[in-house]
C-alpha cells in the first residue's frame, strides 16, 4: 500500500492476510481515480443529475432562539433518502473501474443497503446486502426497498444480529469472493483505505454547506453538528471545516437508555481503544476485549466501534463528542416535524437534539449547522409505536 492509513495511532488494516491484495487494489484504484478528470466528471454528473446535489441548506423558521439560528444541511433530500448515496456512487464507479461484477455491503438501518441496491441496479452489478436479523425486523420497509431494486438481502443471525455482525459476514464473503466482488463498505470505519475513501466521497456535504452558509450569512458557523454511528455523515460534514479553527465540530453519539448503563452506542464516550473490523479505534468492550452489544433506538447508530478518524479527532481535541438519549432524540424528531414540517431519520434527530440544547443555552449570536443526514420514512412504523398518538 502507498499509505499507512493511520490517523494518529488509529486506523490501519487489521484483516486476514488473504484480503490485503484486495485492499491494495482498491487503494490503487482510488488514487488513480482521484487523479482522473473523467472519473470526477462522471461522479459529479451522477451526483447532480441522478442524486440531486447540491442539497439545500435550510434555515429553521421556527426552531432556534433569538440568539441562535439553526441551519439544516438537507441530506434527507438526497436520492435514496440519506447521505449514503454520495459515497455509494463513488465506490460503485471504483468497482466498475476495477472490473468487478458484484458488490456486497453491510447495512444497519438499511440506508446504506438501499443506496448500494440503487447503485447495483443503476450499474447492472449483482448486489448482496448483509443485514442483522434484528435490524431486518425493525427496518422491514428498507428491506423491501432493497429487494425491489434487485438486491438480495441476507439476514445475519450471529452475535447481536445487528450492524457489527453484518460487517463480520460481509468480510467473510469478501475473503472468498474478492476476485470478482467489491465490498462496498458503508461508513468511515473498517480497514484502510475505506475510512479515507468514504470520507473523500462524503466531503461534498461540508464543502457545500460551507459555501452555502458563507453565501447566506457572510460568515462561518460557530458549530457543525452531526450524529456519529460509524461516522460517515459526520466526517463528510466535518472534513472541509477541520482547518477552520473557529468552527466547533460536534459529533453526537447514541446515549440510548443512558450513558451510565450498558444500553447505548456511545463508543467514543464510553469505549476504549481496541481493534475491530480492520481498524484500531475506540471500541465498546469488556475487560478481556470481547465486543459489547450496543443499543440505540436508531439502527444506524447501534454500532460498538467508530471510524478511526473520529478517534483521532477526539484525542486531538479538534472535535467534541457528546451523547443524546433515545428519549431526547425522539422529542427532537417530533419537534422538527411539528415546527418545520420535516420528518428526519432517528439518527439525524440525535444531532438536532444537541443543537436545540446549544440554542437554548446560547447567550450571544450563534450559528449552528446540523447535518440532517437522512429522512424519516424508514422510521415511521417504529415512531408510531414509540410516540403515543394524541388520541
Amino acid at each position: 500500500m502507498k499509505r499507512d492509513g493511520r490517523f494518529g495511532r488509529y486506523g490501519g488494516a487489521y484483516v486476514p492476510e488473504i484480503l490485503m491484495p484486495a485492499l491494495d487494489q482498491l487503494e490503487a484504484a482510488f488514487l488513480d481515480a482521484q487523479a482522473d478528470p473523467a472519473f470526477n466528471a462522471e461522479l459529479d454528473e451522477l451526483l447532480a443529475k441522478y442524486a440531486g446535489r447540491p442539497t439545500p441548506l435550510t434555515r429553521c423558521r421556527n426552531l432556534g432562539t433569538d440568539k441562535a439560528q439553526i441551519y439544516l444541511k438537507r441530506e434527507d433530500l438526497l436520492h435514496g433518502g440519506a447521505h449514503k448515496t454520495n459515497q455509494v456512487l463513488g465506490q460503485a464507479l471504483l468497482a466498475l473501474r476495477m472490473g468487478k461484477r458484484r458488490i456486497i455491503a453491510e447495512t444497519g438501518a438499511g440506508q446504506h443497503g438501499v443506496a448500494t441496491a440503487l447503485a447495483g441496479a443503476l450499474f447492472g452489478l449483482e448486489t448482496r446486502i448483509y443485514m442483522g436479523a434484528h435490524d431486518v425486523e425493525r427496518q422491514r420497509l428498507n428491506v423491501f426497498r432493497m429487494e425491489l431494486m434487485g438486491a438480495e438481502v441476507i439476514p445475519v443471525e450471529s452475535g447481536s444480529r445487528t450492524l457489527k455482525d453484518a460487517i463480520n459476514e460481509a468480510l467473510r464473503d469478501w475473503a472468498a469472493s474478492f476476485a470478482d466482488t467489491h465490498y462496498l463498505l458503508g461508513t468511515v470505519a473498517g480497514p484502510h483505505p475505506f475510512p479515507t475513501i468514504v470520507r473523500e466521497f462524503q466531503r461534498v456535504i461540508g464543502k457545500e454547506a460551507r459555501a452555502q452558509i458563507l453565501a447566506e450569512e457572510g460568515r462561518l458557523p460557530d458549530a457543525v453538528i452531526a450524529c456519529v454511528g460509524g461516522g460517515s455523515n459526520a466526517m463528510g460534514a466535518f472534513a472541509d471545516f477541520v482547518d477552520d479553527e473557529t468552527v466547533r465540530l460536534i459529533g453526537v453519539e447514541a446515549a440510548g437508555r443512558g450513558l451510565d448503563g450498558a444500553e447505548h452506542g456511545a463508543t467514543l464516550l464510553r469505549g476504549r481503544p481496541g481493534i475491530l473490523h480492520g481498524a484500531e479505534t475506540y471500541v465498546l468492550q469488556d475487560a478481556d476485549g470481547q465486543i459489547s452489544e450496543s443499543w440505540s433506538v436508531s439502527a444506524g447508530l447501534d454500532y460498538p466501534a467508530v471510524g478511526p478518524e473520529h478517534a483521532y479527532l477526539k484525542d486531538s481535541g479538534r472535535a467534541d463528542y457528546v451523547g443524546v438519549t433515545d428519549r431526547e432524540a425522539l422529542d427532537a424528531f417530533a419537534l422538527l416535524a411539528r415546527s418545520e414540517g420535516i420528518i428526519c431519520a432517528f439518527e439525524s434527530a440525535h444531532a438536532l437534539a444537541h443543537a436545540l440544547k446549544l440554542a437554548e443555552a446560547a447567550t450571544q449570536e450563534t450559528l449552528l449547522v446540523v447535518n440532517l443526514s437522512g429522512r424519516g420514512d424508514k422510521d415511521m412504523v417504529q415512531a408510531q409505536g414509540l410516540l403515543a398518538p394524541s388520541a
Binding site: 500500500m1 490485503m20 452475535g159 475473503a175 484500531e280
Partner: protein, 267 residues
C-alpha cells in the same frame, strides 16, 4: 531454552521418518473447559503432533460458521482468556513436548496489552501465537512482543500473497508458516486444492516450515498436502464439528479421528 524449539524438534523428528505433522485445533471452552482439556489429551493420544487452540472471541471474522458457533458456545459458558491460559498451563505439565499454538484475534491481545498477552502465553507453556486479523503490514509490534516473551509469532501466507509480503513473512515468522489452502474463511471442504507454488516460494525464501490449514478435513486431503510439500496440516472445523456431534463422548470421537488423520501423514 526457548519454548519455540519444540516446533524445531518436532519437525526434525518427523522429517527423519518422512512424516508430515498432524495439527489439531480445539476451541477452548467449547462445550466447556474440562471437555476441551480432555479433547487435547485425546488428540495427542490419537496421534496429533501439534495443537492449535482457539481463545474464543466475540467477532471472529476469519472463521466460518462451525468455528464461529464454537466461539459463541464457549463465550456463553463464560470462557475467558485467563481460563484458557490456566488450562494450557495444566496441559503443558502433562505433555512437556507437544507444541501448542494459540489462534486468536487482535482485540483480545491488545485488550490485555501486547506484552502482557505474550508473557501470559509464555508462562502457560505456549509455543506460538497466530493473530488471525493481523497481516504482515501490521505485525511488527506483535512480533516484537512475541520475541520479548520468547513466543513464536506465526504468520499467514495465502496463495494470493505477493512476493514482497512472503519475503517479509519469511523474515518475521517463527515456528511454522500457516498457509491457507484456499480463499475464504475456515471450514471443512469436500475437495481441497493446493497451491504447490506457494509452498515452493516459501521454501526458497527460507520461511519456517509450511503447515496447511483451511478446509482440510479428510485423510485424502492430508496425503495430497504431504505430496504437495507441506510440512504439516491443521484440521479445525472438522474436529469442532465432530465434537459437537458427540455430546458427552467428545474425547473418544476426536481420538479416533486423529488416529485416521495421523496415519495419512505417513509415507
Amino acid at each position: 531454552m526457548r519454548n519455540s524449539s519444540r516446533y524445531d524438534r518436532m519437525f526434525e523428528r518427523l522429517a527423519e521418518r518422512d512424516e508430515a505433522a498432524f495439527g489439531a485445533f480445539v476451541m477452548l471452552g467449547d462445550p466447556d473447559l474440562a471437555t476441551s482439556a480432555a479433547m487435547l489429551d485425546a488428540l495427542v493420544e490419537g496421534g496429533a503432533d501439534m495443537l492449535e487452540v482457539g481463545i474464543p472471541f466475540s467477532d471472529p471474522v476469519a472463521d466460518g460458521p462451525v468455528i464461529q458457533a464454537a466461539a459463541v458456545r464457549a463465550l456463553a459458558r463464560g470462557a475467558t482468556p485467563a481460563d484458557c491460559f490456566a488450562l494450557l498451563k495444566a496441559f503443558r505439565a502433562r505433555h512437556p513436548d507437544v507444541p501448542v499454538g494459540i489462534l486468536t484475534y487482535a482485540n483480545l491481545v491488545v485488550a490485555r496489552g501486547r506484552d502482557a498477552f505474550y508473557r501470559a502465553a509464555a508462562e502457560a507453556g505456549v509455543d506460538s501465537v497466530l493473530v488471525a486479523d493481523v497481516p504482515l503490514k501490521e505485525a511488527a509490534p506483535f512480533v516484537a512482543s512475541a520475541g520479548a516473551a520468547g513466543v513464536d509469532p506465526v504468520l499467514i501466507a495465502a496463495p494470493n500473497t505477493p512476493a514482497g509480503t512472503l519475503a517479509g513473512i519469511a523474515d518475521s515468522a517463527r515456528g511454522y508458516t500457516y498457509c491457507v489452502a484456499r480463499a475464504g474463511v475456515t471450514g471443512a471442504d469436500a475437495e481441497v486444492a493446493f497451491d504447490a507454488g506457494l509452498l515452493a516460494r516459501l521454501g526458497e525464501l527460507g520461511a519456517p516450515p509450511p503447515v496447511l490449514g483451511f478446509g482440510i478435513s479428510r485423510p485424502e486431503h492430508v496425503r495430497a498436502a504431504r505430496r504437495a510439500g507441506a510440512a504439516g496440516i491443521i484440521t479445525g472445523s472438522a474436529i469442532v464439528a465432530l465434537a459437537a456431534g458427540h455430546p458427552g463422548r467428545e474425547a473418544e470421537a476426536v481420538r479416533r479421528f486423529a488416529a485416521g488423520m495421523k496415519d495419512a501423514t505417513r509415507p
